[in-house]
């Protein structure tokens, strides 16, 4: 009985679902259908089983859960008739995949069906096995499939060949069993069998070096002949696609020849003639023909060199590149990328066309072309290519600018012949697309600028002009502000003029204007504004005449609602006003940044930078060195006002600085902890708000030392910092600071083991697994108990995916910290520890109780242990 012609229930259901106007209606219909199918499933009804499963498949396609149908598939597969089996296997492939354990149950039915007398049922079984077989099934059923490779009907042979691909991918050890059968299949005439056999052969070669050698020796000649026949065969309507006889077979043949010819001169020799014939004779006005040519080119590129063929191949790619069809151009670009390592010169000839492709409207093509261009660039053509790309930057789409700037910048960085050219190009990029460049790009530019001491004047003047015209591009504004802050004096006095420059007159007031504009621009973000403030501070010393005006601008930020700006404003204001004598030393030019360390660090920490820049938009890479100075000065400044402070009172002021709570909390925890928080506090002081890790680049020298979490080096860092800035009189005051910091050491060790002690508890134990709780309490908070749980495994097996869970009644609060590992080695050989924190809200009245559950995998089998612990020591 055919369920789809006699009863129309499947059709009815599909109609009903299609008639639904809203999602809710559809859900209602589906729910009703599912309910009746479930009922039928539990009644074990036989008559409509395959119709129900067909319905379930449709419901599955709509995205509803259908797990309850899985067993029905197995029942249908076990049924005797073809229609049932057909639906059963279809359901199996749709509703299940290789990872479900249910699948194991089907192995036996599959085995029977593979040996079935009805070849159509054999076909169904092969199809299911080929699409969803797991490694175990592959191992179990491989002998059947191997036998079917010699079946009389070609339809079964070709299915068996593809099924074998799945088997050897799942269980590579089985590959050798298939080598001989495939060799005989390769002599067949039937296209389907040949096609699948070639594919199997290719996969065998990938998996096994021996198979590759075998096929290379025995089959290369035969395959060349097959390709020859295919190419020269007369018109065969059955396999004809737009005038070409079975292009799919030809492509497969070219591919297997590529595998056989790669790295073997003899095999490559055998195929030269036919490749030349395919490359010259194939029609290139239809997609099918181009597909063959494309494959042929790839084969020519991969096999051992025979001069003439390569020229032919590159010429084909050249023709592809000028094709009007985007698909063809795309594959040409793809292939040229591979060709570039083989024959760079030949690819260079198409440079102009490739550059045109960068400007294409299709993103797929643009992306390929851009990648290709960046491979094509070398010392000799970097200047014209960069110029082209930068020119294009002006007109490109906004969403492409990001990619484009990255590539231009990396090209410029890698291949720039001289610094002035580098700076010029980067300025152009920043002016055009400053909002699209990544932070590292302009950081790198600043590093280069500081290193080019003869170009400081030139650069700062160029940047000054740039922000007049491109003030809306954030990155160029930042670089300009940084440079003006550093080299403002060169800008005004036209120092270090190069011959090519036009002289320009800029007054000190103009410069301050420029920064003021940038600092007040609506679009400027915190980083830019902070940098403006630092630049102004620097200028206040470089331009004494503008000092008052700068002070006024700086003071305006006292009211900023951004803490960072407010703080800088206040600090800088006090530096300008009160500390004339040390200001000039304080705002000296930055020392030259070391290119090597910078690029090394960038390479090493790229992912880290990427992640922090997401989380925290307030990167202050360049501002920081100066802000580091400022709070330090404040610190020293305070002590300078009260001459020679006695240790105790300076402890107070430090305490003030650090905040009482920090000090007291640190004095409670252990020594190591104290040292750590001591440095953290210092770091906070040093970096004014932005955590050290985020500074990413320039200050890291200082910070990397302090990150050692070691008091002593921190003090060294402090000393090192203060030495260039602070006069010797003040430097003496660093020693009390050092004393103070040292003082942290012995001070806080005292508490630690103050509280009552509790004996450890064996919380759970069976023949193999034991769990021990160790308790500790923080003095002063008796209701909180710290528990350290440690698990040991006495069996010889390793437990994986180990998870410990615990639950407590309402009067308790439980906090679980991550476990030390999720794998527990056997033989008591190591343990997992996990910390728990329990807060007892009814401390003194009730004692702890806890329910636990431990789950893990033993030889990939899920295991579960549960238990209740009520024998906790009292008073917890």
């Amino acid at each position: 009985m055919n369920p789809f012609s006699s009863g129309t229930r499947l059709r009815d259901m599909i109609r009903a679902i299609r008639a639904c106007k809203t999602a809710a209606e559809e859900r209602a219909v589906v729910r009703k259908e599912c309910a009746s199918i479930r009922a039928a499933v539990s009644d074990n009804e036989n008559d409509y089983r395959h119709r129900n499963l067909a319905k379930l498949m449709f419901i599955h396609m709509l995205g509803y859960p259908t797990h309850f149908g899985q067993m029905e598939c197995l029942k249908l597969i076990a049924a005797p008739g073809f229609p049932e089996k057909r639906i059963g296997y279809l359901g199996l492939m749709l509703l299940l995949d290789e990872r479900q354990e249910v699948l194991m149950l089907v192995t036996n039915s599959l085995k029977q069906d593979l040996n079935h007398t009805n070849q159509y049922i054999v076909g169904l079984a092969l199809c299911a096995l080929g699409n969803i077989s797991s490694a175990e099934m592959a191992r179990d059923l491989a002998p059947e499939v191997e036998r079917l490779l010699q079946f009389r009907d070609p339809n079964v042979r070709k299915k068996a060949a593809l099924c074998s691909i799945r088997i050897i991918k799942k269980v590579p050890d089985l590959a050798e069993n298939f080598v001989n059968p495939v060799a005989s299949l390769l002599k067949e005439k039937h296209h389907g069998v040949l096609l699948t056999a070639i594919q199997l052969c290719a996969d065998l070669c990938m998996i096994s070096e021996e198979a590759l050698e075998y096929f290379r020796k025995k089959c290369t000649e035969g395959l060349v002949k097959v390709l020859k026949d295919a190419v020269n065969s007369p018109y065969a309507p059955e396999y004809d696609i737009s005038g070409i006889s079975d292009p799919f077979l030809q492509i497969r043949l070219l591919r297997i020849l590529r595998i056989l010819g790669h790295g073997d001169a003899d095999a490559s020799d055998l195929m030269n003639d036919i490749l030349a014939q395919v490359a010259t004779k194939t029609e290139s006005n239809k997609n099918a023909g181009n597909a063959i040519l494309y494959e042929c080119v790839e084969t020519i590129m991969s096999i051992e060199d025979s001069g003439g063929l390569r020229v032919l191949a590159i010429n084909i790619l050249g023709r592809f590149l000028s094709n009007r069809d985007n698909n063809i151009r795309y594959v040409a670009l793809n292939m040229l990328m591979k060709a570039i390592s083989i024959d760079g010169q030949a690819v260079q000839r198409h440079r102009a066309t490739i550059l045109e492709c960068v400007k294409d409207s299709d993103a797929s093509i643009r992306k390929r072309a851009l990648e290709l261009v960046s491979l094509l660039v070398n010392e000799s053509n970097v200047k014209p290519l960069t110029k082209e790309l930068i020119d294009y930057l002006e007109v490109s789409d906004n969403d492409f600018k990001g990619d484009l700037t990255v590539k231009i910048c990396s090209i410029v960085e890698k291949l720039s012949p001289e610094k002035i050219w580098y700076i010029d190009q980067m300025l152009k990029v920043l002016c055009e697309a400053g909002n699209y460049v990544k932070d590292e790009v302009w950081h790198a530019l600043i590093v280069v600028i500081t290193n080019a001491s003869n170009l400081h004047g030139y650069t700062v003047r160029a940047l000054y002009r740039a922000i007049q015209t491109s003030g809306d591009q954030e990155a160029v504004v930042r670089v300009a502000i940084w440079c003006i802050g550093e080299y403002g004096d060169l800008l005004v006095n036209n120092i270090g003029m190069l011959d090519l420059e036009e002289p320009m007159t800029v007054t000190e007031n103009d410069v301050v204007d420029a920064i003021e504009v940038a600092s007040k621009r609506h679009a400027s973000d915190l980083t830019t504004r902070s940098m403006c403030l630092v630049a102004l501070l620097k200028l206040s010393s470089r331009f004494p005449s503008c000092s008052q005006r700068i002070k006024d601008i700086v003071t305006q930020f006292k009211g900023s609602h951004l803490l960072e700006l407010q703080q800088r404003s206040l600090e800088f204001d006090s530096i300008i006003e009160k500390h004339q004598n040390l200001r000039s030393a304080l705002v000296e030019r930055m020392p030259v940044l070391d290119e090597a360390t910078y690029s090394g660090r960038r390479a090493g920490s790229l992912p880290a930078v990427a992640s922090t820049s997401q989380g925290n938009p307030l990167q202050l890479p360049n501002g920081v060195p100066k802000t580091v100075d400022a709070p330090l000065l404040d610190l020293l400044d305070l002590s300078a006002d009260e001459p020679a402070p006695p240790t105790s009172s300076s402890a107070n002021f430090l305490q003030d600085l650090l905040g009482d709570d920090i000090l007291s909390s640190s004095s409670q925890s252990g020594r190591i902890q104290t040292q750590k928080s001591g440095t953290d506090v210092l770091l906070d002081l040093l970096s004014t708000g932005s955590p050290p890790a985020q500074n990413g680049s320039f200050t890291a020298d200082i910070l990397s030392i302090s990150e050692d979490n070691n008091n002593k080096t921190t003090v060294n860092a402090l000393n090192g910092l203060s030495s260039p800035v602070v006069t010797s009189a003040q430097r003496s005051h660093t020693s009390p600071v050092m004393d103070l910091l040292d003082g942290f050491g012995p001070n806080p060790t005292l508490p630690k083991d103050n509280g009552p002690t509790f004996p450890p508890l064996v919380a759970f134990e069976n023949s193999s697994l034991s769990l021990i709780f160790k308790f500790s309490k923080q003095p002063g908070s008796p209701q909180i108990t710290q528990i350290e749980a440690s698990f040991t495994n006495k069996s010889s097996e390793v437990y994986t995916d180990f998870i410990f869970q615990a639950a407590v009644p309402k009067f308790l609060q439980l906090h679980l910290e991550p476990a030390s590992s999720n794998t527990l080695p056997g033989n008591g050989n190591g343990s997992i520890t996990q910390k728990l924190r329990v807060t007892n809200n009814q401390h003194g009245k009730k004692s702890l109780v806890m329910r636990i559950r431990i789950s893990y995998k033993l030889n990939n089998k899920d295991m579960l242990e549960e238990g209740q612990i009520s024998n906790f020591p009292r008073d917890l």
Binding site: F58, L90, M93, G130, L249, E295
Partner: protein
């Protein structure tokens, strides 16, 4: 190797989905959604290839239906494009002038045809006539 085949209409309703690699159900839905988003708004002049995660999707539009194949990055795009067309011709021949409704009501037959055309993510038969004949034989078994 073909990772999966999707047949979707313009609204993103999946009419056929065949996976040759194991994926979670939720992941499948995500893939179907993402592929639809990728292909549905592309200009017809653009390439029929889009990069998708670490693979690429070869797609082709026939009236309101999108046929998408996800294949390895090293595979021959043009060949798979031709392969989609061959599949459509087979469907067209089998249903004589196929339309979306044929595929909805006879989805199980579409799967059957696909299983005769592609197996284990590889092309199985390239002759339209052979597949149509084979379908005839299978229908006689019912």
């Amino acid at each position: 190797m073909i990772r999966f085949i999707l047949l979707q209409n313009r609204q993103g309703k999946t009419r056929l989905a065949k996976y040759y690699i194991p994926l979670e159900e939720s992941e499948k839905h995500k893939v179907e959604y993402e592929v639809h988003r990728l292909v549905v708004n592309r200009d017809p002049k653009f390439t029929n290839f889009v990069e998708f995660r670490t693979h690429k999707v070869i797609y082709r539009r026939y009236a309101g239906l999108f046929f998408s194949l996800c294949v390895d990055i090293t595979d021959n795009e043009l060949a798979y494009l031709e392969c989609i067309h061959l599949f459509v011709e087979i469907l067209d021949h089998f249903f004589s002038n196929v339309c979306e409704l044929d595929l909805v009501f006879n989805f199980h037959k579409v799967y059957l045809i696909l299983d005769e055309f592609i197996l284990a993510g590889e092309l199985q038969e390239t002759s339209k006539r052979a597949i149509i004949e084979r379908m005839g034989e299978l229908e006689k078994q019912e």
